[in-house]
Symmetry: C3
Subunit: 539 residues, 3 copies
C-alpha cells in the first residue's frame, strides 16, 4: 500500500470521466485559449450570425443593434399605451430620458468638474476615486498589485476604441471624463440641455465591448427546452422588458408604486445597478451586498439566505481580510477567499468568469412542475454538472451531487404543495364559491384578466378581489416556493425548512384547505336555508 501503488491509484481516479472537479480545474489553469472573446458564449455569436474572430467594432455594432431593437426588447414593451412614465422614471431608464428643459447653455468638457464640484460634489468625488479619473495610475501599477490585471483591460478598451475609429493609432486614453459618457466618447463640448444623455448599457459597452457582450449573451443562453420561460429570460439583459410587460405593472394606476419595481428591473438599461456610479468600482461589484440591492426580500431572498448560510457567515467574519481588488479568477488563490460569494458561483462557469450570470440557471425564478418534471433532460443535467464542478472547488463531487439531489427533491416536494393548493383554489373558483365571487369580484385593470391567486392580487385590490386566500395562494406560488428553493439552493437550512419555505407553504396550504371546507360548509348551510324557505313558501 502507499508509495507508487498509491500514486497510480490516484492517477486512475483522476482519469475517471466522473471526476468533473479535476477536469474543470484543468480547464481553468490551462493557458488562455487562442479563441477570440473566450468569455462570450458561442450562443451569442450564433444568434447574431457572427464569426468568433469578429472585430470589436462589428461585435459592438451587432450587440448594440439588437439592444436598441424594439422588436427584441428595447423601449416600453407591448403595453406601452397603458402607462406613462413619471418624472423619476427617466432616471431609471435612459430610453425615457428627455433633455433637461432648463439648463440650456453650452459647456465644454472641462466645465463639468469645475461647476459640479460645487453643485453636486458627491458626483465629482466619486468619479475622482474611480479608475476613470486617472488611467495613467492604472498603467503605473506594479505587476504584483492585485489591480494590475486592469492594465490589460485598459489595453483592451483602447483596442476597442481603435477598432471603432474613436482612438487614433498610437494615441492613448488618460481619463474617462463626464462628457465621454454623458455626451459621447471623445466629445469635447455641447449644449447642456440638448446634448446631455443618461448613459445606458450600450454607452458603457462602447468601451467595454466584451463585458457588454457577455451580459447581452444572457438572451442567448437561456433557451428553456420546454418553454418554461420566454427565451432569454429571466435575465439581467431583458429585465426591464419583463417589468414593462408584466400586466399588473402596466395596468396599475399607482405609477409611483410601479416605479419601485422598475428601480430593480433597470439592469437591462444600465450597468450601474452593480457598478455604482460614479465610481463604478469592480471591487465593490464583487461584494455580495451589491447583489442584495435587488436580490432580497419576499419573493427571492437570496441575500438573506446567503448571509445566513455557512458561506455567508464566513464572508461576514473573514471577508474583511479578502482582497476585493483581485479579479474573481484569483478569489480562492491570491485573494484569500475562504468561502464563495454570489459572484464566484454565479459568474463562474467552467473556470471562466463573465457577466453572463445565467448559464447555470435551472430552477430560475419560479420552481414549477414543468421544471420539476424535466430535470432529467440534458439541458438541466448539463447545467447541474456545471454546478457540481463549481462546488467541487471546495467540496467533493459526491458531496455536491448529493446536495443537488437534495435541492431538486426538496424543491419538487415544495412544488407539490403548491399544486395541491392550486387544485383547491381552482375548485372554489370554478364553483364560484370564493368570498364575494358572485356579487363583488371586479376584474383587475387591463391588460390583466381575472383568475384565482393572480399575481395582480399582490399589488391591487378592489371589492372582493383578491380574497384572503387568493392572496395566500399568490404568496405560495410566487414567494414561498421561491424562498423554499432559494433557501435550499443557498444552503440555509433553517431558511428553507422552517423560517421561510416549507413551513410557510404548509401553513398556506392548511389555510386554503381550512377555507375550502368552511366555504363549502357555509354553502351547504345556505342551501338548507333556501330549502327551508322554499318549504315555508310552499306551505
Amino acid at each position: 500500500m502507499g508509495g507508487l501503488g498509491g500514486l497510480s491509484g490516484v492517477g486512475t481516479w483522476c482519469r475517471r470521466a466522473a471526476c468533473t472537479a479535476f477536469a474543470v480545474n484543468a480547464i481553468s489553469i490551462a493557458p488562455a485559449m487562442a479563441e477570440e472573446w473566450p468569455t462570450v458564449p458561442d450562443e451569442l455569436f450564433e444568434a447574431l450570425n457572427l464569426d468568433r474572430d469578429v472585430s470589436a467594432n462589428d461585435l459592438y455594432e451587432a450587440v448594440a443593434a439588437r439592444y436598441y431593437d424594439e422588436a427584441q426588447g428595447y423601449g416600453k414593451g407591448q403595453f406601452s399605451e397603458l402607462w406613462e412614465p413619471i418624472a423619476f422614471s427617466r432616471y431609471m431608464d435612459p430610453a425615457l430620458y428627455e433633455g433637461r428643459e432648463q439648463l440650456n447653455f453650452d459647456v465644454s468638457a472641462e466645465d463639468c468638474v469645475t461647476c459640479h464640484e460645487s453643485a453636486t460634489p458627491g458626483w465629482v468625488h466619486a468619479w475622482d476615486r474611480s479608475v476613470h479619473a486617472d488611467l495613467e495610475a492604472i498603467r503605473a501599477l506594479p505587476e504584483d498589485d492585485s489591480r494590475a490585471y486592469k492594465i490589460e483591460h485598459l489595453q483592451e478598451v483602447e483596442a476597442n476604441l481603435r477598432s471603432m475609429g474613436l482612438l487614433a493609432e498610437g494615441a492613448r486614453l488618460t481619463e474617462v471624463g463626464c462628457a465621454d459618457c454623458h455626451m459621447g466618447v471623445g466629445v469635447k463640448d455641447g449644449n447642456h440641455m440638448a446634448d446631455l444623455r443618461l448613459p445606458d448599457s450600450a454607452a458603457c459597452g462602447q468601451c467595454h465591448v466584451r463585458q457588454f457582450s457577455e451580459r447581452e449573451s444572457e438572451r442567448d443562453t437561456l433557451t428553456w427546452p420546454q418553454d418554461q420561460w420566454p427565451a432569454g429570460r429571466p435575465s439581467h439583459a431583458l429585465s426591464l422588458l419583463a417589468n414593462y410587460e408584466t400586466a399588473i405593472w402596466a395596468g396599475m394606476a399607482e405609477r409611483e408604486i410601479a416605479e419601485g419595481c422598475t428601480m430593480c428591473h433597470t439592469t437591462q438599461a444600465t450597468c450601474n445597478q452593480c457598478h455604482t456610479r460614479h465610481e463604478f468600482a469592480a471591487a465593490q461589484a464583487r461584494r455580495p451586498e451589491m447583489c442584495a440591492n435587488c436580490h432580497n426580500g419576499v419573493d427571492h431572498n437570496e441575500f438573506e439566505n446567503y448571509m445566513m448560510s455557512r458561506h455567508g457567515l464566513i464572508y461576514q467574519t473573514n471577508g474583511g481580510d479578502w482582497d476585493w481588488e483581485a479579479p474573481l479568477s484569483e478569489a480562492f488563490a491570491s485573494a484569500g477567499y475562504n468561502a464563495p460569494t454570489c459572484q464566484t458561483c454565479h459568474m463562474g462557469v467552467d473556470g471562466q468568469y463573465s457577466h453572463n450570470l445565467v448559464q447555470k440557471v435551472r430552477w430560475g425564478f419560479a420552481p414549477m412542475p414543468s421544471i420539476a418534471e424535466n430535470l432529467a433532460h440534458p439541458w438541466f443535467e448539463d447545467r447541474k454538472d456545471l454546478w457540481v464542478a463549481t462546488c467541487s472547488q471546495c467540496h467533493s463531487p459526491s458531496f455536491a451531487e448529493s446536495y443537488f439531489e437534495m435541492i431538486d427533491n426538496g424543491t419538487t416536494q415544495g412544488v407539490d404543495l403548491v399544486q395541491q393548493a392550486d387544485a383547491v383554489m381552482k375548485g372554489l373558483y370554478e364553483d364560484g364559491l370564493l368570498v364575494g365571487q358572485a356579487s363583488n369580484r371586479p376584474a383587475p385593470p387591463a391588460p390583466d384578466e381575472d383568475t384565482f391567486g393572480g399575481f395582480f392580487g399582490l399589488f391591487w385590490t378592489e371589492g372582493n378581489n383578491p380574497t384572503a386566500i387568493d392572496y395566500e395562494y399568490a404568496q405560495m406560488w410566487e414567494q414561498e416556493i421561491m424562498r423554499h428553493f432559494k433557501g435550499l439552493a443557498h444552503v440555509n437550512p433553517g431558511g428553507f425548512t422552517y423560517t421561510y419555505g416549507w413551513s410557510e407553504l404548509i401553513a398556506s396550504l392548511a389555510r386554503i384547505r381550512d377555507e375550502d371546507t368552511r366555504l363549502r360548509e357555509r354553502h351547504a348551510l345556505e342551501e338548507r336555508i333556501d330549502a327551508l324557505e322554499a318549504a315555508g313558501d310552499a306551505n
Copy 2:
C-alpha cells in the same frame, strides 16, 4: 460652443434661484457666522424668550428649567396615577432613580475607579477608553488628526463651566471622572447611597450646553401647521413623555412588557441611547447601527430600509474605510464617505449639523390624510426644499425633486388604502357586526376607550377585543403604512413595493374586505333563520 460661452452659461445657471444645491453648499463653506450658538435654531430662543447672545449659563438655566418642568413634559405624565415603575425602570429614567438602599458609605472621587475596577471592570475600561479619561490627550492632538476639532469642543466646555462658575478662570479640565457625572461637576466626595445620581440629559448638558440646547430645540421646531401632532412631537426631546402618555402603555397590567417600550423612549431622559456609556464615543454615535437600536422593526424599519438601499449597501461595503472620528461636516470631504448615513441626512440642515434631528420632518411617524392633504403648505414645502438640498450634495436637484414627488405620491397612495380600510372597519363597528361585538367585547384598560383597530389591540386582548381584523387594521395604520413610507423615504424599492409596505397594505385591505363580506353575509343568513323561526313560531 464651449470656452467662455460655456462658462457664462454655467454662471447663469448658478445664479438661478432654483439652484438650491449650490446655495446650500455656499452656506456650508462660508466662514462661521458671527452669531452665537449658530447651530441652535431661532425657535428655541424665541420659545425661551432669550437673546441670541445669551451666556452659556443663562442658556443652560433656561433650557434645563424647561427640561425639568412637569408642566412641559418632565416626570411621569398625565396618567402617572395608573402605573408604578418596576425595579428596572429606574435605570431607564433618572427621574425614577432612587438612592441605593444598601451601599451606605462615604467615598471620595478617587475611590470609584479603585473599587469598580474589580467590581464592574466593564465600566472602568469603557471610561478609560473615553475622551473623558484623558483630556490632555485631546489637547495634544496634532492639527491634522481628524479628532482635532475636539480641542475646540473642550475649550467650549471649559467656557461653559466658567460661565456657570464651576471652573475658575485659568483653570483647565484634565478629566471628567465618575463623580463629576454621578455626584456633580467638580464634586470630590459623597455618600454612595445618598449622593449618587443617575445622570440625565441635563447632567450631560451642563458641560455640553450647545448640544443639549440643540436636542431640546426639537420641542420648538416641530410646529405642525394643521396640528397633525402635538407641538414638539414626535421628537427625541419629548419621547419619554410620549411613552408615558400612551394610553395602553399606562393602562396595561404587564409592566415588564411596557418597560420594553420605555427602553427606546428614554432618549428624552438620557444621552446614552446614542452615546453608549461609559465611552460616549462620537465616532460610534456616527454609525448607522446606533440609530438602529430604536429605529428598527415592525412599526418603523428605517435601519432595515437604509441597509438594503444603495446608500446602506455602500456603507456596508465601504464604511470600514471611512474616518468615523471626523466630524460630520467632513463626511463627504476628508472623512471619505461615498454614501450618506442616517446622521449625515438627518442631522444636517443647510450645511450645518446639530443634535436637532427633526428640522426636516414632514411625514413624521405617521403618514395620514391631514399630512397628505397639506403638502403644498409652505411648512411642508420649505422642508422639502431643505431635503432636496441635502440630496443635491450627490444627486442633481431635478433627480432629488422627482424622487420626492415619488415619495409623496407613493405615500399618499398608501394612505388612501388605509382610508379605504378605515371606512369598512367603521361600517362594521357602527353596525355592531365585528366578531363577538355584541356579546364579548370588553373595553381596553383605562385610560383607553374602545374603538375599532385601536392601538391598544396590538398589546392587549380580552374576549373578542381585538378581533382578527381589528388587529389587521391596527397593523395597517400604525405599521404597514409606516413601513411603506419608510421604504420610499429610504430608497429601498423592494421594501416599499413588495416585501413591506404596499403589498402588505393590499393584503390587509383585501382581508378586511373579505371579512366584511363574510360578516354581512353571515348576518343575512342569521336574519333568514330568525325569520324562519319566527314563521315557525307563528305556525
Copy 3:
C-alpha cells in the same frame, strides 16, 4: 467623608455576600486551581464514575464510550425503523457515513494534499491556513502574541496522545494532516474507499480531550429539577438524538426537508458546526456569526436579537477592532471587547470558559408553566446568580438583578397568553368544533398522534389537519413565546415588545378567540337549522 472612611466603606461593601460580581472576579483572577480538568464540571465525573485526577486516556475512553453508546443517544434513535437516510445525510452524521463505492485505491498520507490540491483545492487551502498545518509555527509564537496560549494547548494535546500511547515520549507533533483525522491519528496509509472516515466529535476529542469532555458534560449539567426536559437536553451534546427522536421528523415522507433540520442538529455528531472545516479557526468560532448558523429564525431568533441589542450593535460598530485571536478569558482585557458576544456570556461560568454552553440555562428552548412556576427553586436561583455575575462584569449587580426580574416576569406574562390560547384550543378540540374536525382530520404520520396545535402541523398537512388556528397555536407555543423570551433575554426591546414576541402572541390569541366565537356561533346556527328542519319534517 472620603479618604480612609471611604475606603473602609468600600471594604464593607466588598465583603458583602451579595457582592457576587466581586466574588466572581476574585475567582477569575485566582491562580489556576491545582484540580485536574478544572473546566470540566463535577457532574461529568460523577456521571461517569471517574476521579478528578483521571488520566487523559481514561477520561477519553469513558467519554467516548458513552458518546458511542446507542442506549445513551448515539445512532438513529428509537424511531430508526421509520426513516432512511438520503445520500446527503451521510455528510451530516458520520455514523451514517459509508465507504465510498468508487475510489477503491491505496493512498499514503502524503498523497492527500498532492491530489486534492487539484481535485478540491478549497479543502487544501483551508487546511493550509489552519493551525493544524504548521504546529511549529505555533511553538515559535512570541509570548506577547495573542495566540501564544495555543502553545500550552499544543502541549496538552501531546500529553493526551502520550497518555493514549499514540505519541512516543520525547516525540512531538509537527502537523495534523488529512490522514490523522480521516484515517486515524498517526496513520500513514490506507485504502481510499475502505479506510476513509468522516471525523466525528470523538475523532476531534482524541486530541482535544478537555474540550470534548466539556462539550459532553452538557449531558450531565442539565438536570431539570421538575423534569421540564429530558436529562441532558436541550444541548449540543444530544442535539442529533433530539432531531432523530422528534416524531414528525422521523415520520414525514419528505426526507430532504427533514434533512434541513439535521443540518443544524448535527452538533452532537461533529465539531465543525462551530469550527468550520478545514480551518477550524478558534478566532472564527468566537464570532457571533458562527452561532448564527443555527441560532436564528422563526423559533429562536437569538442572533437577530443580539445583533439588534446594544451589545450586538457595539459589536457591529467596534468588533472589527477586537482581537479575535485572544482567548475568551482576555475578551474584556487585552482583546479589547467593549461589549459581550454570544461566547463570552454563554461559554463563561464563574470566570471560566468552556465548551459546556448550558450551565446557566434556565428557560431553555421553551418557556413553559413548569419553568415559570419553579423559578424560586434553588436550581433556577443558582443559575440566575451565575448570570448576574456574568452581567456584573459590566453592569451593577442591582441593574442585572432588576433586568433578570424583568426577563422572568415578562416571559411569564407571555407564557400566560399561551396558556389562555391552550384553553380555547382544548375546548374546541374536545368539542369537536375545529374546521373539518368531524369530517376530514387525518392523523399525522406515525409515530405522531393527533392533538390540537401539534408540532407536526408546522411541517405536515393533510385534509383539515392542521386547521388555520392549529398552526396559529403551534406558532404561539413553539415560536412566538420563544422569540418573546429570546428578545427579553438578549435585550432587544423592540424585539420582544413589538416586532416579535408579545404583540405576536396577542395577535395569535386574538385570532384564536375570534375563531372560537365564530365556530361556536356557526355551530349554534347549524343547530337552529337542524331544529327548523326537524320541525319541518315533523310538520
